[in-house]
């Protein structure tokens, strides 16, 4: 009797439609496209900043195009989704044990959310938003 291993056919490009969990995973994966594109924009921004005040002013004007506004909306959604899922994962990635007991996961994620909120407010304050 020959043992034939079970081989499941997995469609390489559409497997993630099989389960909502896979779709959520892929939604998170796709945020890397927008975050990556935004990193490229940041590199360009540094180039423009180094090129002098006129180049920087032109860069700021170029940011106001409709395409740029839509891109910023998508990048913002991606950045917030990445941040939320990352902080939710911290409680699984670094569980904290004190004595016999584990610190509740919500405390670990909650602490990250708190630091995130404070850091963001500090940056907004020093950037002169309010």
């Amino acid at each position: 009797m020959s043992r034939r291993p079970l081989i499941r056919e997995v469609p390489p490009a559409s497997w993630f439609f099989r389960h909502p969990r896979y779709l959520r995973y892929m939604a998170r994966e796709v945020t890397s496209v927008f975050v990556g594109a935004y990193c490229v924009l940041l590199v360009i921004a540094m180039q423009r900043l180094a090129a002098g005040p006129i180049a920087w002013q032109e860069f700021l004007v170029a940011l106001r195009s409709p395409v740029s506004i839509i891109f910023h909306l998508l990048a913002m959604a991606a950045a917030f989704y990445h941040a939320g899922t990352w902080f939710n994962a911290t409680q699984k990635a670094m569980p904290l044990q004190i004595g016999e007991n584990f610190v509740p996961g919500s405390y670990i994620s909650g602490a990250h959310y708190l630091v995130w909120a404070v850091l963001s407010l500090v940056v907004l304050f020093f950037a002169g938003v309010f």
């Binding site: 994966e29 975050v35 935004y38 990193c39 590199v43 540094m46 005040p53 850091l119």
Partner: protein
């Protein structure tokens, strides 16, 4: 001892993921305000130039951009694989080279300021 180059890729990825999670939303919000025409005073040439000209500010900008680039390159590589593009060696090489070039370019721009 097992030898692997994985930690070299993995550490900047994890550090970059954390940096992106903490810093990217607020950076994009600042960019969005500028895109709407309400440029925050911190993004004016004088303020941002002064920040980038300071040693610590320069280090912060370089650190955030370089780590974010590396983390994004690693995540894009995984995303390509998950979407069925299985030429992993080619894609990984292209993306990591792009991340290194982008980081080097950022360092060059910042030290020119």
């Amino acid at each position: 001892m097992a030898k692997s180059h994985k930690p070299v890729v993995w550490f900047p990825f994890a550090a970059g993921g954390t940096v992106i999670a903490f810093c990217m939303p607020v950076i994009v919000v600042l960019g969005f305000l500028a895109a709407l025409g309400h440029v925050p005073s911190g993004l004016s040439y004088e303020s941002l130039h002064a920040f980038a000209a300071h040693g610590l500010g320069r280090l912060v900008l370089l650190g955030v951009i370089a780590l974010s680039l590396w983390s994004s390159a690693h995540r894009l590589r995984c995303t390509c694989y998950d979407f069925g593009l299985r030429a992993d060696t080619l894609i990984a090489t292209m993306l990591y080279v792009a991340a290194i070039v982008g980081s080097a370019a950022t360092a060059m721009f910042l030290f020119r300021i």
